[in-house]
């Protein structure tokens, strides 16, 4: 099972990298979203995908799945959610001010000679 998920994670990383290398800001942000999906899935896989009950003591099972990676992923999800929403607003603002969403034309400093 870990092999299959690892391949999926690899594909997600690939798509994310491809999108981040494009010119359009929106595509870049979609790329970062896909990249963070890949990372979260990787965290879950690296914690082990052995069979076990959900980590709820009320279930009284013999074995539970590892709760630590789930807590880590939950933390990483809210962080990347916050960063992504900031990034989207930043892109919107930059689009209004610069009048373009093309990274090539969004050169910051004119004094760069």
């Amino acid at each position: 099972m870990e092999i299959v998920i690892s391949i999926v994670v690899g594909i997600l990383f690939m798509i994310g990298t491809y999108l981040i290398l494009s010119k359009n800001v929106t595509r870049i942000i979609i790329g970062t979203g896909i990249l963070s999906h890949g990372v979260h899935l990787l965290l879950l896989t690296m914690g082990g995908l052995k069979q076990g009950a959900a980590p709820l003591l009320g279930q009284e099972a013999a074995a539970y799945s590892d709760p630590l990676p789930q807590a880590l992923i939950l933390t990483a999800i809210v962080i990347s959610f916050g960063v992504t929403s900031f990034f989207l607003v930043l892109a919107y603002r930059a689009y209004n001010v610069h009048g373009t969403d093309d990274m090539e034309q969004m050169r910051g400093l004119e004094s760069d000679e």
Partner: protein, 493 residues
């Protein structure tokens, strides 16, 4: 006593929360920010004395035994860095009285700086890898907001790049944590160190170590990963650049020091050799940039890059002298870079331009500013009575002991070029014929020079009184070279 370890973390956090409610009361915000800085200086001073007499301290959050809970660790290195960060907070807060426009102050500048400091101090004090990630995000989120605060065209363009680079490096950080967790099953640094020592750091762990080098190198701006820094650090107003130059890259350097002395120290012929090569190239590109530009901001920004190279060279020689020099230079560099950025902020306030060839003759009207800049420039290059000298001297000794003659040669040559790059500003802008814009008057920079003078006096004292600083830095070096002290302090029963 151990409860005091969490105080430097709680003070800026609570101050930041309180400041959010005082948006319209700028005076109250300034006073509270100042008090918070002074309170952190006081507590970290007490902690520093405590660490020197009683050894490394640790605080278990929630009373959970490590490695199961999160633990905060105070050794000399982290407490010294907390102390110096709060000094920079005080100096930059002083600068904002006159040096920042009302618009920016009105939109949460002070709370953002407090949250930035929370993240920085948390990253210095934590003893847990994932917690380090969270504190990195706390400081990065505040830095995103600070870099774009004001929303000029340049800032918007540069902050998109800055945010993107950091989003990617954060994703890589989580990837590295995931790999390390699957190999060792723990995230506590002391426990990780023990488990990796047991299995003798096999090749896979070394690969993860290099992944950590890439992640922290992106924050610290080492050679192939520094490309984002020149643009991002020239975009915001001078006081924000000063905070960034003094603190942000230093967190990345600290993380590299911590991780490669406590956890991945078993194969220095691979990891530390790579760090040495990267540090050397970082110095070279830094000084090339510093010499190439005619823009005040760009010169300083590339000096930040070169400084990162100097500090990392100490880690690469990995002996007592090298690490001592690296830490001493790190502390000196934090103060001098902040002072230089503030001085250049004052110069730009007078000349109204960042170009070097469009104004000159500042020293005739503003002698204090001119001479302060000369002292800062000489200290940056490492001229003997000033603070930059001792760090570089120890770095060179360490390099010779480790037989890294090429690296040491590059370090000496780079110091020369660093001196050339800042003295060029001194001769062209500060000396020279009287060519200032008509609009300048002495009230314009009133109070803008004193914060830098404060930092320069401290750095001068640090150079002249190096024997007072010596025991603390030597203790930090000793802990880095003997990870078992750290492990014992964290995992004690």
């Amino acid at each position: 006593m151990n409860n005091l370890i969490i105080a430097p973390l709680l003070i800026p956090l609570l101050t930041g929360v309180i400041l959010l409610f005082l948006r319209k009361h700028i005076v109250a915000q300034k006073v509270l920010s100042m008090l918070s800085g002074l309170a952190i200086i006081a507590t970290s001073g007490v902690l520093l004395g405590d660490v020197l007499t009683n050894g490394v301290g640790s605080y278990q959050l929630g009373g959970w035994q490590p490695p199961f809970g999160i633990v905060l660790v105070a050794d000399s290195l982290s407490v010294l860095l907390v102390l110096f960060s709060s000094i920079i907070l005080v100096a930059t807060t002083l600068f904002t009285y006159k040096g920042l426009d009302l618009e920016r102050k009105n939109y949460y500048y002070y709370p953002l700086v407090q949250f930035l400091l929370t993240g920085i101090i948390g990253a210095f004090l934590t003893g847990d890898l994932f917690n380090l990630f969270v504190f990195f995000e706390v400081l990065l989120m505040s830095s995103y907001a600070l870099i774009v605060l004001g929303g000029t065209k340049t800032q918007l363009g540069e902050s998109i790049k800055y945010v993107l680079v950091n989003v990617i490096s954060s994703a890589l950080f989580v990837t590295a944590v995931a790999f390390l967790y699957s190999m060792t099953g723990t995230l506590n640094m002391a426990d990780l160190s023990q488990r990796i020592a047991e299995i003798g750091q096999p090749g896979l762990v070394t690969v993860v170590a290099l992944l950590f080098l890439i992640v922290f190198g992106m924050k610290a701006a080492i050679f192939p990963l520094y490309f984002w820094l020149p643009g991002s650090y020239s975009a915001p107003p001078p006081v924000i650049s000063a905070i960034f130059a003094g603190l942000l890259t230093k967190v990345g350097i600290y993380a590299i020091y911590r991780v490669f002395t406590i956890i991945f120290y078993h194969h220095p012929e691979i990891t530390h050799q790579i760090i040495g090569i990267l540090a050397t190239i970082t110095m070279i590109v830094g000084v090339i940039g510093a010499v190439a530009y005619n823009d005040l901001h760009k010169i300083l920004v590339y000096n930040v890059v070169a400084g990162v190279g100097f500090i990392l060279l100490g880690l690469s020689s990995f002996n007592e002298d090298g690490l001592f020099g690296g830490i001493f230079y790190l502390l000196h560099d934090m103060m001098i870079k902040a002072a230089l950025f503030l001085l250049v902020g004052a110069i730009i306030a007078i000349t109204q331009t960042t170009k070097m060839n469009q104004a000159s003759g500042i020293i005739k009207h503003y002698p204090l500013l001119g001479w302060s800049f000369l002292v800062a420039a000489l200290s940056l290059a490492g001229v003997p009575p000033l603070s930059g000298f001792f760090g570089k001297l120890a770095l060179i000794q360490g390099g010779f002991l480790a037989e890294q003659y090429v690296f040491v040669g590059v370090l000496l040559l780079s110091s020369l070029l660093v001196l050339y790059s800042v003295m060029r500003i001194f001769f062209l802008v500060i000396l020279g014929e009287d060519r200032l814009p008509e609009t300048h008057n002495s009230g314009q920079i009133k109070g803008l020079v004193y914060p830098s003078v404060f930092l320069l006096v401290l750095s001068f004292l640090m150079g002249m009184g190096a024997e007072f600083v010596y025991p603390y830095v030597a203790d930090a070096t000793f802990t880095l070279l003997n990870p078992e002290i750290y492990i014992e302090a964290v995992l004690k029963e």
